[in-house]
Symmetry: C2
Subunit: 508 residues, 2 copies
């Protein structure tokens, strides 16, 4: 595959120079490809022999599910930072750059990112406000006096005054998920799915603090923090509780502008549409190129899920205070259900399957929203005539948190562990049904670094994975099977979690 | 053993009546013992056959340490509440009553006890204050007017005024560890060691809130809570920080009266001494009885450790503020080291060995103390001239908590898990050194309920356990080996954690 890519690029470059001699060009390309292929092979050999390229991490495949389950759930060596075993993500899901970070470095990174995220959330308004000040009429006139005649034109002036400050904020908010993703990558997670999970959590916290509390209490997060620190623990729920009903109309507008319009934008897929047409005009040369340009990417869990959760929070908070807001939320969720169902089945090519590993996070956020709504209600009640009975409402968050812990004990292991009973049952069943079944040819190439993936192996892989894929398709779909991912098999869905392990050998 | 106990009791009763006819009495006793032994056997048979007596919990022994380690660390069935496996405590350490509590009931119990402990800690002064009001001169005269002439005597009056209120508080504080222990038992822990660990945690929280904060802020816990709720988060460290240096003299007195005197009382062992002499006068008939009366019990981790931690907290808090307090703390710790070392080696018969499972709790409490001292310092600094630099001190608790999490990741598994590498190494070593070693005869009786322990098996058990015990004694000790515990072996120390598992089968 890498070879084919290179050839596409070369044909364009060379044909600019030698456009006339048609046969010669193809010959030239063929020899060029051969030369490059040889170079690639040499480079691969070099890397394989280079002791510096050996990572202290490995993927281990087991003959039985039972063996894998035992290895993933137990501690191997006396030093728990030396031989860390955990379930391997799918081959497609592996984030190769982070495989070999030692434990000490991981801890320090986590601390740094934790502190950085705190400052990002609380003080993000400060740089934006300064940019906005710079982007105002006076700011521009002061910094660049030669622009004065242009700015004084009425149309441009109104654009600057009306749009620039908003655009500065919007630009930051557009780049926020990317910033959060970079933070998660720096933190050293091993799979794309866990990177997205962590980014989603951070994004949700950011939305709660800056959108929910930011709108209710009107003020930047650091001003809120300042006022919260100076307020008594008793007063905080009251402040929030009293402000909540006052902001109902604002949030109704917000649901319509951001929620409904966002869903409409989701089904329109404006960004991929524009990108496709741009690519179609400037880059696409072959049918294959066009197919690649059509790729809509995968559903962005790290931005979509926290946003939907924000509406869930709004629904819970306003359910008892201003039920008039609920129909708007219900319409949003009905739209979202229809649209996302369609998008997931027919449009997106999901990059990975993580076996519902996202669900515990979702559950935790629903509980958070519930507790916030209960505290806001408590605050509101204590300022009304029901002030006497308000303290009894404290039982609500206590019971909610207890319920969360109960659910964690009862259900969380289903997302984290793989019970031995199940593993044994599946092993026995497989041995009885298909005694000659051999996964080795598939596993041999499944977990090799994308750099070492030869173009020639792809077809064999595809055969096996397609066979497995057809077994697991439950909903008829219009989208094409994905051909351009490093390892497009869906074996892990058929026998999720996958049969392999990451054995990580970091420094203490 | 049960048989022997009965005989001792019977001999006394019968000899009161038939003291003269000596031979007949012994005959009578022998037949009586036989009759009772038969009854015991019958009762045992009945219980064994009774389907209602079957508990949904079992101890499983494994042939290899590896098997036990795998079973203890993995999840067995799909429903994580149905087949719960964990390391079995030592046979001596098992708390039999709690073995078969279903998961749902456990969760509810935990919630109830959590709420109860909150109220116990915060509002414990209210019932005591009312008792104190009742125990005052006026209270007694009002409730029991006929006592008036007695109370009016000057000596009795001064006793009531001076001692009764203090005694009411002291009585509660003496019974507090027992109350906390009952709470832990209700919560459903499986071993005596974990019961003591939980009680110790609760006792520490109680001491911090009611002794440390209670003395610093002078007021009952619920009054403090009230003032904290009404104070801003900013003000709380300031209030504490300012009050800390003012109370230094009080705490110096406290260290001398409670700390030094407590250590002296520990080496005197007044309570066991008095109890022994009382028993010696009224109960002791044989040498065996006397030996039993001499038993000093085991070191009370659930009260001793939290108290020592309180002095650690005092030392940390006052180290920067009033270093004059430190020599008193150092003398306390020097005394405590000498005394407790002596007591542990020569006096106490420890009931169980938990393999240092207490240490993570101790570490956590040291960290808590460190964070409290840093916050108090932060509060104090922000009221002095250094107010500008005070916010930078927030980095201290952040770094401390990060260090705690780092340590947990690096070291906690050593107390919770049993690495497979180690297990395999020990298995291999044992097989090579002693290929015919058979634990079965020991294990057969190790984990049976004390009710089923026959008196005749004890000697065999003792042989094996004594052999193992002599292997593991490191410090020469003056105390006698313990003969009267249900299963006095120390095998778990030799190969800790023990080779067995609790398999718990609760309802979902």
């Amino acid at each position: 595959m890498t070879g084919i890519h290179y050839s596409g690029l070369l044909r364009k470059l060379v044909s600019l120079g030698f456009g006339e001699k048609k046969v010669d060009v193809i010959d030239h390309h063929t020899s060029e490809i051969e030369k490059l292929s040889e170079e690639i092979e040499e480079e691969r050999e070099r890397v394989l022999k280079d002791p510096k390229s050996i990572m202290p991490a490995a993927f281990v495949s087991f003959k039985t599910r039972w063996g894998a389950a035992v290895c993933a759930q137990t501690q191997q060596s006396r030093n728990p930072t030396l031989w860390l075993t955990e379930w391997a993500p799918e081959p497609r899901d592996v984030y190769w750059e982070n495989l070999a970070i030692p434990y000490m470095s991981l801890s320090v990174r986590r601390l740094i990112i934790g502190v950085a995220f705190f400052f990002l959330t609380i003080f993000f308004m400060i740089p934006i406000a300064s940019v906005q000040a710079l982007a105002s009429i006076e700011g521009i006139e002061k910094r660049a006096p030669f622009l004065k005649p242009v700015i004084e034109i009425k149309f441009i002036k109104s654009v600057i005054q009306g749009f620039l400050p908003g655009i500065a904020l919007k630009l930051f908010l557009i780049f926020l998920p990317t910033i959060l993703m970079i933070m998660s990558k720096f933190e050293g997670f091993l799979s794309i799915s866990s990177l997205e999970r962590r980014s989603a959590t951070r994004y949700y916290i950011f939305l709660i603090i800056n959108v929910f509390f930011g709108s209710i209490l009107t003020g930047a997060a650091f001003e809120q923090l300042n006022s919260f620190i100076k307020q008594s623990a008793n007063e905080i729920p009251k402040t929030i509780g009293v402000a909540v009903p006052l902001k109902a109309t604002f949030f109704i507008t917000y649901i319509m502008v951001d929620g409904w319009a966002g869903i409409a934008g989701e089904v329109l897929m404006l960004k991929p549409l524009i990108l496709y047409h741009l690519k179609n005009i400037f880059l696409v040369k072959t049918e294959k190129d066009r197919e690649e340009a059509m790729d809509p990417g995968s559903l962005g869990f790290n931005t979509g899920e926290p946003r939907i959760q924000l509406y869930f929070l709004l629904g819970l908070v306003y359910a008892t205070v201003t039920p008039f807001l609920l129909p708007f939320i219900i319409i949003f969720f009905a739209f979202a259900y229809v649209v996302f169902r369609h998008q997931i089945i027919n449009v997106y090519n999901q990059e990975y399957e993580s076996g519902a590993a996202f669900w515990p996070d979702v559950h935790g956020r629903v509980i958070t929203a519930l507790v916030i709504s209960q505290l806001a209600l408590l605050g509101l009640m204590s300022t009304k005539e029901a002030a006497q009975s308000a303290p009894f409402l404290i039982a609500l968050p206590v019971l909610t948190i207890w319920f969360h812990r109960f659910c964690q004990g009862r259900h969380k292991s289903a997302f984290v562990k793989y019970p031995l009973q199940e593993a044994m049952m599946k092993d026995t069943l497989e041995r009885a049904r298909d005694p000659n079944f051999n996964l080795k040819p598939y596993l041999q190439d499944a977990y090799i670094h994308p750099v070492f993936k030869g173009g020639d192996d792809d077809d064999e892989d595809d055969d096996l994975s397609k066979k497995l894929e057809t077994d697991s398709v439950l909903v008829p779909t219009k989208r094409q099977s994905r051909k351009n991912t490093p390892a497009p098999s869906r074996i892990s869905k058929a026998s999720s979690p996958s049969l392999s392990e990451v054995v990580k050998d970091g420094d203490p």
